[in-house]
């Protein structure tokens, strides 16, 4: 009884144990790792990936994938920055519509939600595989970003906007508060609501879920919408931290996000996983990135190491599946 409990506990906590061991090793190898400044910095950096990854978790739980999150991040960030800085001018009406920080953030979130819905609509309406539909959106959104920004950054967005990404509240960086807020919402959604159970059911066995009366298309539409919106929140964090929207912002962020989800124990075949696991996965990637930089490891080797970590996580996932 005790042995099986311990095994179950170890299996469930393997990501957390990996994170703990990683922190332990890095604190031994670098005296800068465990300093307050560095740890806050790591948390600030992780916040962006956490925001994208919690949305991605819901998608992967449904046995889907969203490759467009990085590009959606870039487009929504550019749009909000552009509106915040330049507003909208209508010459013929002699009308200027200005946007406050709240306005810029809301527009970004609505556009992210819309692009996510579009992903979901293509997937459900035309039965396009998620990989292909979101890959198309990746290219479209990046192209639109380049068109909107003309390939140039939109900078100097004001100190109020900068506060979102660089400010502190009650001694904790604002991005950490924001990502924690969204993590709690998605956690509640996935664990405590019927909608959350539908997501797991679809990922576990889509046909069975359909036969039991779940409106699969509606759930998919909403989940992809949430993933798009979470990408836009991450976009706001990145843009406000730099006080500048870069046209290539978010490029390849989808890979870090998928990595966080997989490392956090969510199965790519759907139905198994959790938001908390993803947060730990994002933390592992963030700590790993930070540690490799502190240890002066070449950026090329950093990519190799990250790739190997993802590979190990997937292998462990497969072994667990076989055992189950």
């Amino acid at each position: 009884m005790t042995v099986s409990f311990n095994k179950e506990f170890l299996k469930k906590s393997q990501s957390l144990i990996a994170l703990f061991l990683l922190c332990l090793v890095l604190s031994l190898l670098s005296d800068k790792f465990l300093t307050g400044t560095n740890l806050w910095n790591v948390l600030r950096q992780i916040s962006v990936n956490v925001c994208i990854s919690v949305g991605m978790t819901l998608v992967v739980l449904m046995a889907g994938i969203d490759l467009s999150v990085g590009s959606v991040l870039g487009l929504t960030a550019a749009l909000s920055a552009g509106l915040l800085k330049n507003g909208l001018g209508f010459e013929s009406l002699d009308l200027f519509v200005g946007f406050t920080v709240l306005g810029g953030v809301l527009v970004a979130m609505l556009v992210g939600l819309f692009l996510g819905f579009l992903n979901g609509w293509f997937i459900t309406k035309f039965s396009i595989p998620p990989f292909v539909a979101t890959l198309a959106m990746l290219t479209i959104a990046r192209g639109l970003t380049m068109l909107y920004t003309q390939g140039m950054p939109i900078s100097n967005l004001g100190s109020s906007f900068e506060f979102i990404g660089s400010g502190w509240f009650l001694g904790i960086p604002v991005p950490v508060w924001i990502s924690a807020f969204f993590v709690l919402i998605v956690l509640f959604l996935s664990k405590k609501t019927t909608f959350g159970r539908y997501i797991y059911a679809i990922g576990g066995n889509e046909k069975a879920a359909f036969l039991s009366g779940i409106n699969i298309n509606r759930v998919k539409l909403i989940v992809y919408g949430i993933a798009g919106m979470m990408a836009s929140v991450a976009g706001i964090l990145v843009t406000s931290r730099l006080n500048s929207a870069q046209p290539n912002a978010g490029a390849s962020y989808e890979l870090d996000s998928i990595a966080a989800v997989v490392i956090g124990g969510t199965s790519l075949s759907g139905g198994v996983g959790s938001v908390t696991g993803t947060v730990i996965g994002a933390a592992i990637i963030g700590v790993l990135n930070n540690g490799l930089v502190l240890l002066n490891v070449s950026p090329f080797w950093q990519q190799v190491v990250k790739g190997l970590v993802i590979l190990v996580a997937v292998i462990i996932d497969k072994i667990n599946q076989k055992k189950d």
């Binding site: 507003g87 001018g89 209508f90 010459e91 009406l93 002699d94 009308l95 200027f96 519509v97 200005g98 946007f99 406050t100 709240l102 306005g103 809301l106 527009v107 140039m152 950054p153 900078s155 100097n156």
Partner: protein
């Protein structure tokens, strides 16, 4: 009944968020207001035409390189502009050469002394030109944002009104003279990559 309340609450929330999100003004007033503040475009225009294009601006690339090899400390203190505590400094350099290639908006130049130089004529961003000019000081402005707006205005002027029209006319083999910002790192002088942000390119 419950549904009606829900709709009312949703409508009030949307109106409240809308009220806090956007504001309306007359476009003509906004344009007027923009002009009444500090005119960065005019400042950049003066900085460029009366400062950067003045005769004594810039050091010959060959002369600078000779000095870097023989007296690097003097080269950095006389011609360089170092901001902050880093090892990098910006230099306004000028030279002549022939275009050996036009690649993705940048010009590869072979100077008369056989040095290979790249003029990054497409991506004129950052503070390189402002800092290489050594004419603008941070203390002249209240905030970093204002200081950076000078760069933004100067870069826009040089990129759109000076360099872009010139580069369109240039072809491989053309002989040109150039002036631009070069960033050098005091710790890495043995293997210098001559990547210059151009301030002026003239077809000879």
């Amino acid at each position: 009944m419950n549904k009606i309340y829900r709709y009312i609450i949703a409508a009030v929330l949307v109106l409240f968020l809308g009220y806090k999100s956007i504001y309306f003004k007359k476009l003509s007033e906004v344009k007027q207001l923009d002009k009444s503040g500090f005119d960065y475009d005019a400042y950049a225009d003066t900085l460029y035409n009366k400062g950067i294009l003045s005769e004594d601006m810039g050091v010959g690339l060959d002369e600078l390189m000779f000095m870097i090899q023989t007296k690097p400390d003097s080269a950095f203190s006389i011609y360089g502009n170092r901001l902050g505590i880093g090892n990098s400094a910006y230099f306004m350099v000028k030279g002549n050469g022939r275009i050996s290639a036009v690649q993705d908006g940048s010009l590869k130049i072979l100077t008369e002394k056989g040095e290979s130089v790249t003029l990054d004529s497409k991506y004129i961003f950052g503070n390189d030109l402002r800092d290489a000019s050594r004419l603008v000081k941070l203390t002249d402005f209240k905030t970093n944002a204002e200081f950076n707006k000078v760069s933004e205005a100067l870069n826009t002027l040089v990129r759109e009104k000076v360099i872009a029209p010139t580069v369109q006319r240039l072809r491989e083999g053309d002989k040109i003279s150039f002036m631009g910002a070069l960033k050098l790192n005091r710790k890495h002088l043995s293997d210098i990559e001559f990547m210059i942000i151009p301030a002026q390119i003239t077809l000879q």
